[in-house]
């Protein structure tokens, strides 16, 4: 990504009356990048997308599209097509007429319109439905019509607002693959708004995590997963054990800290300029936690098994310490088979120092 | 967000606004104005004269008509509501969805038939030697005087209001939570008590609005009081048509009209306040 970014948000703020929907959004999107904007409902992700599309005007700050400032430019004067959560297909038009719509709005002649629409119907493998009504299509077919309709002008950027949320789980996975391949094929920028971590992390090159109008972190899925910046992101990921601690003293292996459940060692690289008495928050990911039998010699926190949950090929064990803190441990089924565990049994939870990550923003 | 309205929005919003301002609101305001005008040599002249008000409001005949109109409209409203309720209740709670839809369609039809024709038809039914009295005569009853009295007027008014009241009542009953009725039955609340203790209070807003519409329609109606009630004593609407059609005393008719609007507004305000009043004591 040596060329200039296709999108630049420069301190963008959006207010609806007293309510701040987006607070100081400041980021760039590269050409050909697949960017996911993720957060729970009301976090400002859709407003951010709508500002990019020109459906909302920022209250302050600037938005640049392909190097040009586009504040105040109507959506119909931008080429930022969007795929809607509701798909918003025109029920009174046929599939082909839906796909031709934006060409018609741009005054393209009838014959050329049909030809270009056909090309996209082919590409989305829905040519056979060209003359059908929207009502006669399945959910997956409608999705493809929506994509073809948005892409028919061959835009440099495509906006997607939770396009898969209406599909069932099975179809969702298939459409994720379709979208991923499509984006690589076309080489254009996708901006994808979703509340689903699995969608964002599996498709996107970079992910923007938002909460209450603020951008909490921007990074590749791996970066975010390994090094969440703050407690919100760590909690949002859902698999991290979070500890509040106070720095005690520096020893050979790093810093010794006191947390709610005991002592731990944090590698010096995680705390470059700490001093005794500093308050820190660190996390240990559930899959990096160890479980051992209560009679083993292992040093760690004693906790009671509260329950478990299957996550694919692994199990997530939930435990509770004497003080009531919940801990999560994720292990494969083989690893667990040697361990006696049922609800109520006591186990020792431990981890090695290299798996501790200090949240930089806390 | 105080944006200047776009040309687009003005083109869509303004025609209706201008039309209703010029041809609806302005004539009503004009009506208030001419109630202070004077008539000289059969010509209305702008003035600020309270003579018309004084003349109308001190006349016994006006107040007789006023009282008569109030009683007729209130009776029509109460009777229509009472007749409509069991039907609305049955439509809303006892009929299948298909039957319900058909009945609603059937009840819309009368709105598109001429009220005048229906009133004329009632004349034929109700006269002394008419169909109903002849039929009653076969079984040794009557004849009853059913025309040119309050009975006739009320028949006409109920004809006018009944379909609308049934429809409005049915819609409001459709919104009554069915679980509430189940609950009442489970609590051994009897059928009739369920109706009055649960259903009527839950649908109160709709029932009151329906009765209010019946009152407004009957209060303003001049056809039934004239052609079925005989026009004697006159109602306020008959007074307006008489005064207007028989000469240039429009300012006096305007006074009567304003009194009617004031009454309707008071009644509507009272009814709506009552309808939305907090439940409970």
């Amino acid at each position: 990504m040596t060329s200039s970014p296709i999108v630049k948000f420069d301190n963008v703020v959006k207010k609806f009356g007293d309510f701040t929907a987006v607070e100081k959004a400041d980021f760039e999107i590269g050409r050909g990048e697949f960017l996911a904007i993720m957060g729970s409902s009301g976090c400002g992700k859709t407003t951010t997308l709508r500002m990019l599309a020109g459906l909302e005007d920022p209250t302050s700050g600037n938005i640049y599209l392909d190097g040009e400032r586009v504040n105040g430019r109507a959506t119909w004067d931008r080429d930022t097509p969007m795929v809607w959560q509701s798909l918003a297909l025109f029920p009174f038009l046929t599939v082909q007429e839906n796909v031709e719509f934006s060409l018609k709005m741009r005054g393209v002649a009838k014959a050329e319109r049909a030809e270009r629409a056909r090309k996209w119907l082919d590409k989305m493998q829905i040519t056979e439905f060209a003359n059908r009504n929207i009502a006669q299509l399945s959910g997956g077919q409608r999705q493809r019509v929506a994509l073809a309709r948005a892409l028919v002008t061959e835009p440099k950027i495509l906006l997607l607002d939770e396009p898969l949320s209406a599909l069932d789980a099975h179809l969702k996975v298939r459409m994720q693959a379709v979208l991923s391949n499509l984006q690589k094929d076309l080489g254009i920028t996708f901006v994808y708004v979703t509340h689903s971590m699995s969608e964002a992390f599996s498709m996107a090159d970079r992910v923007v995590i938002m909460s209450r109008g603020r951008i909490e972190q921007i990074g590749t899925p791996v970066e975010i997963y390994r090094e969440p910046r703050n407690r919100f992101v760590a909690e949002f990921l859902g698999s991290a054990n979070i500890f509040e601690a106070t720095v005690e003293e520096e020893i050979a292996e790093g810093w010794k800290v006191i947390h709610e459940e005991g002592r731990a060692i944090i590698p010096a690289s995680e705390l470059p300029d700490a001093k005794t008495g500093d308050k820190i928050t660190f996390i240990v990911s559930a899959e990096n936690m160890q479980l051992s039998a209560p009679d083993s010699e292992q040093d760690g926190i004693e906790a009671t098994v509260a329950g478990d949950e299957f996550v694919g090929g692994t199990a997530m064990i939930f435990l509770e310490t004497a003080s009531g803190k919940e801990l999560k441990v994720q292990k494969s089924h083989e690893e667990l088979s040697t361990l006696k565990r049922k609800a109520g049994s006591k186990l020792i939870v431990s981890w090695s120092a290299e798996h501790c990550h200090v949240l930089p923003d806390e | 967000m105080t944006k200047r309205p776009s040309l687009f929005s003005l083109v869509l919003a303004l025609p209706l606004l201008v039309w209703q301002l010029a041809f609806f609101l302005f004539p009503l305001i004009f009506l208030v104005a001419i109630s202070f005008w004077t008539v000289k040599m059969f010509q209305m002249q702008p003035d600020l004269n309270f003579g018309n008000w004084q003349r109308i409001l001190t006349r016994g005949i006006f107040w007789d008509a006023y009282l008569h109109t109030m009683i007729l409209a209130a009776s029509a409203s109460a009777l229509t509501s009472a007749i409509a309720f069991p039907a609305s209740y049955a439509i809303s709670f006892k009929l299948s969805e298909t039957a319900k839809r058909w009945l609603i369609f059937v009840l819309i039809i009368p709105f598109f038939t001429s009220y005048l024709v229906r009133v004329y038809s009632w004349q034929v039914f109700l006269t002394d030697a008419g169909i109903i009295n002849t039929a009653l005569g076969y079984i040794g009853l009557g004849p009853f005087a059913m025309l040119n009295n309050n009975f006739g007027t009320l028949v006409g008014m109920i004809t006018l209001c009944l379909p609308l009241v049934i429809l409005l009542q049915t819609f409001s009953l459709n919104f009554v939570n069915r679980d509430l009725i189940e609950a009442a039955h489970n609590l051994r609340c009897g059928r009739l008590r369920t109706v009055f203790a649960v259903i009527v209070p839950s649908a109160r807003v709709g029932l009151v609005i329906a009765a209010l519409f019946a009152f407004i329609l009957s209060f303003g109606d001049f056809v039934s009081p004239l052609y079925l009630g005989g026009g004697n004593p006159p109602t306020l609407s008959i007074m307006i048509t008489d005064i207007t059609k028989s000469g240039q005393q429009w300012p006096r008719a305007a006074v009567v009209a304003i009194m009617m609007i004031a009454t309707l507004m008071t009644v509507a305000l009272g009814a709506i306040t009552y309808a939305y009043k907090e439940r409970g004591k």
Partner: protein, 265 residues
């Protein structure tokens, strides 16, 4: 309890039937009387006859009235639907200061008694020298019918996916193009329904028309004239014919409003 239930339900059904008989007796009556030779129909009914239809057919004043009614009805339908469409879209799309006043002004006319509307219109229109003309009836009916058109079209707009319009803008259509290519096609059934229903309302309106029409009487005003004169079963013949016309319009409107729903599923 099940038994008692059945009896009560039976009575309720009888009550519905009685209500329907009461509502439809005058309508059915006027049909029967219109085909009856008697001037004062009673029991037993007189013989079947087209006399009254022939009389109205031969009456040039009835034809003139019909002509006025149709001219007024068609014009009013178009005006009221255009005004109502604008109002419905404004309510659907915009929030602005004084919106409730706008809506009140748009929707209140049907709650004002027709005599008062008639008097106010007469006084106002005669002041601007329009009373007694067909135009004055059109103006008055425009006021009275546009709320119906607005309500019908507003209802259709509320069935529209709120993203549909924004999607059209996003695909390059400006507001005018979107109005033409999305909003109007979507509301088309309601637009036609509004045309038919406002036409039907105008066809049957007599009171305000009577006040303001002067010599250019519409058919319902003609009926009022017959009613004021001596009893004449010609009213039944005219009434039956205009009923058939109105019902045709309503059924057309109903079919139009139903179609999109059937399409959906």
């Amino acid at each position: 309890m099940g038994n008692e239930n059945r009896i009560i339900n039976g009575w309720l059904m009888v009550h519905i039937a009685l209500c329907l008989i009461f509502i439809f007796a005058p309508i059915a009556g006027s049909f029967v009387f219109s085909l009856n030779s008697d001037r004062f129909p009673s029991l037993p009914l007189g013989e079947f006859s087209f006399k009254w239809y022939r009389l109205i057919y031969e009456d040039p004043l009835v034809w003139a009235g019909l002509f006025n009614t149709v001219v007024v009805g068609l014009t009013v339908a178009v005006i009221a639907t255009v005004l109502g469409f604008g109002g419905a879209y404004t309510d659907f799309r915009y929030n602005f200061f004084g919106k409730s006043i706008y809506l009140a002004l748009a929707l209140l006319p049907p709650t004002i008694p027709v005599v008062i509307m008639g008097l106010a219109m007469l006084a106002f229109l005669s002041r601007i020298h329009l009373s007694g003309s067909t135009i004055s009836v059109i103006i008055a009916h425009g006021v009275m019918c546009s709320p119906f058109a607005m309500a019908i079209i507003r209802l259709r707009l509320s069935q529209m996916d709120p993203d549909l319009e924004a999607a059209a803008w996003n695909l390059g259509g400006n507001e005018w193009a979107t109005l033409r290519h999305v909003i109007i096609p979507f509301t088309k059934p309601a637009i036609f329904a509004a045309l038919f229903i406002t036409m039907a309302v105008s066809f049957d309106e007599f009171a305000v028309a009577w006040f303001v029409s002067g010599l250019n009487e519409t058919l319902p005003v003609k009926i009022l004239g017959f009613l004021q004169g001596q009893v004449s079963p010609r009213i039944n013949a005219i009434g039956s014919l205009s009923f058939l016309l109105s019902i045709t319009l309503i059924v057309l409107a109903q079919l139009l409003l139903r179609n999109p729903e059937a399409e959906k599923k």
